[in-house]
């Protein structure tokens, strides 16, 4: 059986610098930072006292939270459901009436996360159970703490009856969720997949990284300067939160209903370096990364010269140099021949499990609307990067161009896990 082609017909976003597609597009175009000083982290003696926390108070889809009684849900469910509602409507589909509607067996939901719903544990379950008030937990606690809470609640709103699940692979979670959806549609097992990922803002999540000293602690007084991917002065990543959701659809189905097609997901690959050689629990190994990038390009059936732009994982750590090195080697393109590249984390911070989908949405927006956003704070490009590529290939001021036809988007996560996507303009 020939595999089905998979396209993106809808997107929804909750990010640290904007909530909603339109505001997000404007924010990234302007390089509007979502990173700010967080007094709570200072009070808790964090080295890194900054982060990116989304503001969902003005979301156009807030009535969904009220209608489905999500006021007691954690950030994961709230962010995901807001993004999913936006994506579903953006795809030209309608949200069914909860009473008088049938199950949609053609649509599945896979929303992943790095840590899930632990804010419900820390803020509610631990205090109530510890003080002997377990009966006050209420009935929704289970449905808001199960790891698949976001997927199950989106399925509740939309009546989805295909594969309903949640994935987790640390910082590659978002890209992985897209790949799982692509594979299901390619194999003819679903017509439509709602895929995405979300991550909460919490000192109980960020504390682990602060204690490892991998968070930036040198820019607490100038938060917008803190996330500095590809710069010589990069000093660790800046934690953030949010969610990105995409509607993936069988291309035939999208064409049949005359849906707007943002892009095709034409190549995908997932692997792990196995934590061998230079790969460790924390660091992606060179061999595994290169295999993964190469496989996604082969899966798309294109030549390495056809990649016009890379939406980097680039998190403002020492690994940025390795990432550029791996891309240059896999593409065999150096100097002025290297594609354009930027890092959304310079603007939003690192939303961990949510970053892969938020960045893929940013990549698609750029390709579809014809611009490349500025990568902030890399006025002092690392010399090991300038040894490999022309620094002008790093987008530092907004570029307007319609000549972006193929985009590469990769994510790398703890566990030596890699995920790579090739996005094609339609």
């Amino acid at each position: 059986m020939n595999r089905k082609r998979v396209v993106v017909t809808g997107m929804g976003i909750v990010a640290s610098n904007a909530t909603g597609l339109e505001d997000f597009q404007n924010a990234i175009k302007e390089g509007k930072s979502g990173i700010r000083f967080l007094p709570e982290l200072q009070k808790l003696n964090f080295g890194c006292q900054i982060g990116g926390v989304p503001d969902i108070s003005n979301s156009k889809y807030e009535d969904i939270l009220e209608k489905y009684h999500f006021e007691n849900a954690g950030q994961n469910v709230k962010y995901s459901c807001l993004a999913a509602a936006e994506a579903w409507l953006d795809a030209g589909l309608t949200i069914p009436d909860p009473i008088n509607s049938e199950t949609d067996y053609e649509t599945g939901v896979i929303i992943g996360s790095g840590v899930g719903n632990i804010d419900v544990f820390t803020d509610k379950i631990f205090p109530l159970v510890s003080q002997g008030s377990v009966r006050k937990l209420r009935s929704h606690t289970a449905e808001f703490t199960m790891f698949s809470a976001a997927s199950a609640n989106i399925a509740l709103i939309l009546g989805c009856g295909n594969h309903i699940s949640a994935n987790s692979s640390t910082c590659s979670t978002g890209a992985e969720s897209i790949i799982l959806g692509v594979e299901r549609i390619r194999n003819g097992l679903a017509k439509r997949m709602i895929v995405g990922s979300s991550e909460i803002a919490s000192p109980y999540v960020w504390g682990a990284f602060d204690s490892m000293r991998v968070l930036c602690r040198d820019y607490n007084d100038t938060p917008e300067k803190a996330s500095r991917p590809m710069s010589a002065s990069a000093a660790g990543f800046v934690p953030s939160a949010g969610a990105g959701v995409l509607i993936l659809e069988d291309m035939d189905s999208a064409l049949e209903r005359k849906a707007r097609i943002y892009a095709e997901i034409s190549g995908v690959a997932l692997n792990s370096g196995g934590q061998r050689k230079d790969g460790t629990m924390q660091a992606p190994g060179t061999e595994g990364v290169r295999r993964c990038l190469r496989q996604s390009i082969e899966d798309a059936g294109i030549n390495t010269e056809q990649i016009d732009y890379i939406c980097g994982h680039l998190s403002s750590t020492m690994a940025d140099v390795l990432e550029i090195n791996n891309w240059a080697a896999v593409l065999n393109r150096y100097g002025n021949d290297f594609p354009y590249i930027n890092s959304l984390k310079s603007i939003t911070g690192h939303a961990l499990g949510a970053s892969g989908t938020i960045e893929t949405i940013a990549a698609i927006i750029q390709m579809y609307y014809g611009f490349l956003f500025p990568s902030l704070n890399c006025e002092d490009v690392h010399n090991k990067i300038t040894d490999l590529i022309n620094p002008d290939k790093i987008v530092r001021n907004t570029i307007y161009t319609k000549n972006i036809n193929f985009v590469a988007k990769a994510s790398f996560g703890f566990g030596d896990i890699n995920a790579s996507l090739i996005l094609k303009k339609i």
């Binding site: 009684h69 009473i99 009966r135 209420r138 929704h140």
Partner: protein, 77 residues
């Protein structure tokens, strides 16, 4: 009292009309289409609203809106 109880039940309903038109003999789960797990929330809300404590053994006995109303009245009298 009846109206206050209905207002609590309505919070957990997708079909608000069913709840608005409820009678004392209406069964909370079967007639008002309330998800059965929400009974514990309705009880907790009733406890907070009327400043009473509902014994856990009562959960299975409070079937109709009227059952709940009579029980609350007996506790606060």
């Amino acid at each position: 009292m009846f109206e206050k109880i209905l207002k609590i039940i309505e919070k957990y309903s997708f079909n608000k009309d069913l709840v608005k038109n409820a009678k004392p003999e209406s069964k909370i789960i079967a007639d008002l289409n309330i998800n059965s797990t929400r009974i514990v929330d309705i009880i907790l809300d009733v406890e907070e609203e009327f400043n009473i404590e509902v014994e856990d053994t009562m959960l299975e006995k409070l079937i109709t809106v009227g059952d709940l109303q009579k029980y609350v009245e007996s506790k606060i009298s």
